[in-house]
Symmetry: C2
DNA sequence: TGACGCTGCGCAAACGGTTGCGCAGGGCGC
DNA sequence: GCGCCCTGCGCAACCGTTTGCGCAGCGTCA
């Protein structure tokens, strides 16, 4: 069995020309004679020649591979995001090197190192929940490996990022709830150190104040995303002297746990208390009690945009090497969606 | 800004030694003096030297990258599978190049080509539903790029594969149902051309016959996995002269659609008719009516095993180049799981 | 008829590492 | 004092491809 992939050298040998001639013939160089060109291309087709991308990328210092690091691919949000990334990548002939951080900054760092070793052209990343140091990522930029963040983006300005404005989204959601008569609105937020939590809380406070209601911090609970923690938050809220009549949960996963607990406590979900959430995941359509309203965060679109920005950066790099640093920051709308249906 | 990643050459120049010395010093070669070794390693650490995996893989004809092609990452089954693959990969310092086929044989073929171009060391793939030609994959084997299939595996024997024995699983499930007194058991199967469908049907027939009941093909319906098609199947079953008292659906996604429809038809799910399914996805724990019993197919474990087999193949390739062809075929148990709970 | 330009191709360096081999210098035994 | 081995390092080839440059042969024009 011929166990070697065909190379340009083989073609050269069999046609008694030099490798450079073959190389040029394949790329349709004007200085190669028509006869030679035809012969080369013919033989290349016959033996199923495929250029060795590794050799090319090695030579050209460009691999058409971009790294993608996500917290958890099993979260539908991220699996949709990577599909968006992939779609845009294919469009421009890029391939993606994939890794998960499992929301662990250490693993995230190791993945970044691995990607650097593999010399990806660029890196698209949604940060782990606990990440608060960015040296490993800034180091990449230093070496001209662009980094594009999406959804879970770093707090500073000198970065390319695409994300949803959850502050606005939250304000809108509060407005919607209040206009429907729900005035005791609770928030089950995530850990304080997450910027996502901060956005939600800011939006919550702004949304409530804007409607001339006073903010009651007794209605703001926290979860570390474990089922137990979410259940505890619900119990706490139900035990308030004046329990809420609307609960905003951090995301649809928290929502599902929250609803489960509320039911166990004999709450008539979406009647006694309405539940609203973030993410608008398709699976909630199959659950017993989907959130009445969810904030769509467009994971597919975010992924797609992130990749498009990446392509732009990579092309620019080739063109005007030392371009002035302009950071692409793209804020996507976070829109209210009612009654999320099936897939 | 120093925009170049540090190379071995730089170290050599700055230390006034040859590149070969640096290379050997870094790999702790015994013939390099202790002083030199220390100096080199010191400087390497200082300037954050990281070997260029592309150059190495180019030279060594080995990249420590394996391709992974899945139908849809958004199906929890596959996102869990890729996590298993990733875990095993990290263990052995491999990285994964990712792509989806979207259940389209054409896209699958293109992804395979892309991976070949990138010269992955091996390919792990779960076939698209419609794939019935395997030339593009067999071509890889010809060039010594091993292919390991999992879950959706090809029908022939000359392939490395890991999968669940759904035939046995189905027989077990039927046995369980009959022992509980459910004797009119329906099956909502997938398209005929899928081997997964064939397995289920064979298991269905065997399971029913084994219990001395006669097989009623009126109780076997099909779905193309669209919600409409599944709904139609349910309607058909409910309209039988003797409707079923148990329904086996192709997988948990079909289950969810099926239950939705049954409810609309005022069936008391899991009372009038019990629903059982395949896959045992965590999300069903959050749905209104999870399947009473589901066949666990261990996606994480399948992925992990597939990667381990891959590693073994790649190591063997290095060791005994022309080893006799032995195909790894790993059949995992498909176990019955009751009352699947939350995450 | 000599200078010049065009056509068609080959030579060789380069990308960043690895590795077989060679060589110099020193220590050792006989 | 000669041969031998050991230590410590450099030289150069190699992996597959691209690309700047050089060169030969031929036609053209002054």
């Amino acid at each position: 069995m011929d166990n070697k992939l065909p190379t340009i050298k083989e073609i050269a040998k069999r046609l008694n020309v030099s490798v450079s001639t073959v190389s040029r013939a394949l790329s349709d160089h004007p200085r190669i004679g028509l006869r030679t060109k035809m012969q080369v291309q013919q033989l290349a087709r016959e033996i199923n020649y495929e250029p060795n991308a590794k050799a090319i990328s090695f030579k050209q210092q460009k691999s058409f591979v971009v790294g993608v690091i996500l917290p958890y691919i099993r979260e539908e949000f991220f699996s949709q995001a990577i599909s968006g990334i992939e779609a845009a990548a294919i469009e421009h002939e890029y391939t993606i090197l994939f890794g998960q951080s499992h929301d662990d900054p250490e693993k995230e760092k190791k993945m970044v190192e691995a990607m650097k070793k593999q010399r990806v052209d660029g890196l698209i990343i949604s940060l782990s929940k606990q990440t608060n140091r960015y040296e490993h990522l800034e180091a990449l930029e230093k070496y001209n490996i662009p980094v594009v963040y999406f959804d879970r983006v770093p707090p500073f300005a000198h970065a390319h990022k695409v994300y949803c404005n959850l502050f606005k989204g939250t304000v809108d959601m509060i407005g919607w709830l209040i206009s429907r008569g729900y005035k005791r609105i609770a928030l089950i937020n995530g850990p304080d150190n997450l910027s996502a939590s901060k956005e939600r809380l800011k939006g919550y406070i702004e949304g409530v104040s804007k409607k001339k209601l006073k903010v009651d911090m007794q209605l703001v609970e926290k979860t570390d995303f474990s089922k137990e923690s979410t259940h505890a938050a619900i119990i706490n809220l139900l035990n308030r002297k004046q329990p809420p009549n609307a609960i905003i949960t951090f995301n649809d996963y928290v929502h599902m746990d929250a609803v489960q607990c509320a039911q166990q406590q004999n709450v008539r979900v979406n009647q006694d208390i309405v539940f609203v959430s973030y993410a608008n995941l398709p699976i909630t359509g199959y659950t017993a009690f989907p959130p009445l309203v969810s904030i769509e965060q467009y994971p597919y679109g975010q992924g797609e945009r992130a990749m498009e920005i990446m392509i732009k950066l990579l092309n620019k790099k080739a063109a005007e090497e030392s371009a002035q640093k302009v950071y692409h920051v793209e804020e996507m709308p976070a829109t209210l969606v009612m009654h999320p249906g099936g897939r």
